[in-house]
């Protein structure tokens, strides 16, 4: 009974596997140190297309319905809430706004829990997918305000992944897109180019 199973061959196999793994690890290390990934980045360019605004934060994404947002902001302004550069609620998907002469309307976000996660883009019936599909590539392009803020110094929690997913979806539909990083110190702003040179929204993705 003592020699029921011989461990000789098993030990041989396992020790060989360990050797191979060590070789793999060393090759991996050398290979990774020399390998450089080429990242192809789209360039901003002038266009006659109109921007459709989106906002990405905490791996979530929303379409910014500018008609509703501007109407709500105008109503708040009439009621005097928007005066003295105060931040006021816009009654739209948890967004807050601030109006000033230099920046136009700035948008702030407090809570994104009601926003759809970016994975919803893959779902056929989701509102965000419909919003992206409604963009007419001959007349419009998508412009993303992407929050770069993340707590763990990783892309998780920022809007990067949501932006990349949406951009890839739009690319398949030949829709151009552009973006800019935003955060609470430098919030998303929508204004006219005549207002300030910073109010320029250009597509940077060729979409083909």
């Amino acid at each position: 009974m003592k020699n029921l199973i011989s461990l000789d061959s098993l030990t041989d196999i396992v020790s060989n596997s360990v050797g191979i793994l060590i070789i793999f690890a060393v090759i991996n290390l050398i290979h990774d140190n020399n390998k450089t990934y080429q990242l192809e980045i789209p360039l901003e360019h002038e266009t006659d297309l109109a921007p459709v605004f989106f906002m990405c934060k905490d791996d979530r994404i929303i379409k910014m319905d500018t008609d509703t947002l501007f109407t709500n902001a105008a109503m708040q302004a009439t009621h005097g809430v928007a005066g003295a550069k105060r931040i006021f609620p816009l009654d739209y998907k948890g967004l807050f706004g601030k109006i000033d002469k230099q920046n136009g309307i700035s948008f702030y976000v407090n809570d994104t829990r009601e926003w759809p996660p970016f994975q919803a883009i893959e779902k056929r019936s989701s509102d965000i997918r419909k919003a992206l599909q409604e963009i007419d590539p001959k007349k419009q392009f998508a412009y993303f305000f992407v929050y770069d803020t993340s707590n763990e110094d990783s892309a998780n929690g920022s809007g990067f992944e949501a932006f990349r997913t949406a951009r890839e979806f739009l690319k398949q539909r030949a829709v151009k897109s552009g973006w800019q990083p935003v955060n609470s110190e430098a919030p998303a702003r929508i204004c006219d180019l005549s207002f300030s040179p910073r109010c320029s929204y250009l597509p940077s993705y060729l979409g083909n």
Binding site: Q38, V146, F163
Partner: protein, 207 residues
């Protein structure tokens, strides 16, 4: 060899038997750890990246700016400047010589940095941004004047929490004429992507 000796060789003797089980156990542990390290390495190891423009034409060269929470790392292109210099007149050569020297010093400073390269990020000063934009414009204009196919543009890589520095540079760009003709591209970067300095210094010019 007589029969007795031969017989003795094959007798079940009381030789020292070593159990292989502890070895097997250790080997399996090592194997598990190595597999885990290999998998972890493939997911989290810093990947060196180099940014280039999509559909880039051969003569367009990127001035890379990596935007990190602590500031920016600027990686100016120097590879093709010596060739451009040969095509210029004396005045142009001297202007470009100053810019090349400045850029080589910048790259040397980055290369000599001890520790993780991302920690070399510095808060962008307005004067530095203006000088950088002016130099890019000067180079592009010199190349155009000499009918030499060379154009520099800005590529921004934005790391998580790195948008502040980018906004600062773009703000400066709005009020200087030097940036009017400079093309810009930007891309979000993952925190485990790191820049590759070696490719920029593989062929140091003029040394």
């Amino acid at each position: 060899m007589n029969r007795a000796t031969r017989h003795a060789r094959y007798l079940p003797d009381n030789k020292l038997e070593i159990s292989l089980f502890p070895f097997l156990s250790i080997f399996l542990c090592v194997m598990g750890v190595l597999s885990f390290i290999n998998i972890l390495n493939s997911f989290s190891a810093p990947q060196k990246i180099e940014m280039s423009a999509q559909l880039e034409q051969g003569y367009k060269v990127a001035y890379q700016i990596f935007n990190l929470p602590d500031g920016v790392i600027r990686v100016p292109p120097i590879k093709h400047l010596r060739n451009l210099q040969k095509a210029l007149d004396e005045e142009g050569k001297s202007i470009l010589e100053d810019i090349i020297a400045q850029r080589e010093q910048q790259i040397r400073r980055l290369e000599s940095y001890k520790g993780p390269i991302k920690q070399a990020a510095r808060e962008p000063e307005v004067d530095d941004i203006l000088e950088m934009l002016h130099n890019i414009r000067t180079i592009n204009e010199l190349a155009l004047k000499a009918n030499y196919l060379y154009e520099e543009f800005l590529l921004f890589g934005i790391y998580p929490n790195g948008g502040q520095a980018y906004q600062k540079i773009r703000d400066v760009m709005t009020f200087t004429q030097d940036s009017a003709s400079i093309t810009v591209g930007l891309e979000p970067l993952d925190s485990n992507w790191t820049l590759n300095l070696k490719r920029h210094t593989d062929q140091p010019q003029g040394k």
